[in-house]
Symmetry: C2
DNA sequence: ACTTTATTTCATTTTTTATTGAAATAGATG
DNA sequence: CATCTATTTCAATAAAAAATGAAATAAAGT
């Protein structure tokens, strides 16, 4: 192999620069909301693809496994980021990126952030009763902290609907 | 060993229920912004501790390693979540949770979110010029997508300062 | 109904990320 | 300034997360 040239993965048809940019960008966004690289890759290719792609085409382009493609598409469909489109005369399912980008931010807020805040507020209740066991001074200090945290979480809870509204337009 | 009793880690003095609740909660929050378990643990104990703790005490309570404690405290100080406090007559540094919880949300937004949006907007520029190579039809389709994404990112950029203001009070 | 093709599932393997702890450094103390 | 103690760093290891691919299932075609 000539120096300076990297071996490319066997059956992977080379990605265009456009595809690479798109993939890198979405890998980043998706990782931010806790989704893995392969999911970002899939959305990345679909986002710049002029037509819907079959799972085999996605596997081919990205050089990812069957399992990763199947599971990744499942997740992407479940958050509304990808939809299956019917292609006449084709047996296979075909997939296209849904352009309503706000959808997955919304899904993330509703399914991750909101429940996490709720859970934390419950925990504060628990902690407040546990703090009753402490010595009066320590208890007062603990309660002050818990109050601050509670206040802050409540602000968060109030803010989320505003963000949602803003995202949806 | 009597059935139903778990072996406890050697030098770890048992954590109170209050500490456990706090730790679990903060592990969750910190993981959300990409910080590891040990960092959540450290902040968790400090948050409910009536007094500042030395690194050794933290290591002791949590049963974590020297390295994890040192690095964790470094990160926590860097985002303003923990401060070193002077304890008269004590040689060691002592650490206390900073209660301005908004600090690390702010740090996260400014150091993670904001730069990521900036980077993505740059990428869109790149992608727009790459799209010029495409056939007229495909190009039009790609540009429509890129416009949508750009618009959405710009909304995000506008929203972040509002969130910051809201968090700070 | 059978055969072929597509898709999903999940135990195993690989990769990535976090933690450990020993060595290096920095900081006090006498 | 020598010694002891505390802290940081970083290469090695362990733990967690993601990807693989073969087997199971489902769906389509003949």
């Amino acid at each position: 192999m000539p120096a300076g040239l990297k071996e490319t993965a066997p059956e992977t048809s080379a990605l265009s620069d456009l595809e690479v940019e798109s993939i890198e960008m979405f890998i980043g966004f998706f990782k931010l909301i806790g989704l893995q690289k392969s999911i970002g890759e899939i959305y990345g290719v679909l986002f710049v693809s002029p037509r819907a792609l079959s799972m085999e085409e996605i596997i081919d382009r990205l050089g990812i496994s069957l399992g990763a493609a199947s599971q990744g598409l499942k997740v992407l469909r479940s958050v509304g980021a990808v939809k299956a489109v019917y292609v006449p005369g084709e047996r296979r399912d075909h997939f296209a990126a849904d352009l309503e980008l706000s959808k997955f931010a919304t899904a993330f807020i509703k399914e991750d952030l909101q429940p996490r805040l709720d859970r934390a507020l419950q925990r504060i209740e628990t902690m407040e009763s546990l703090a009753e066991e402490m010595s009066p001074m320590d208890r007062a200090a603990a309660e002050e902290r818990l109050e601050k945290l509670k206040h802050w979480l409540e602000r968060g809870e109030k803010m989320l609907p505003l963000i949602l509204k803003f995202l949806v337009h």
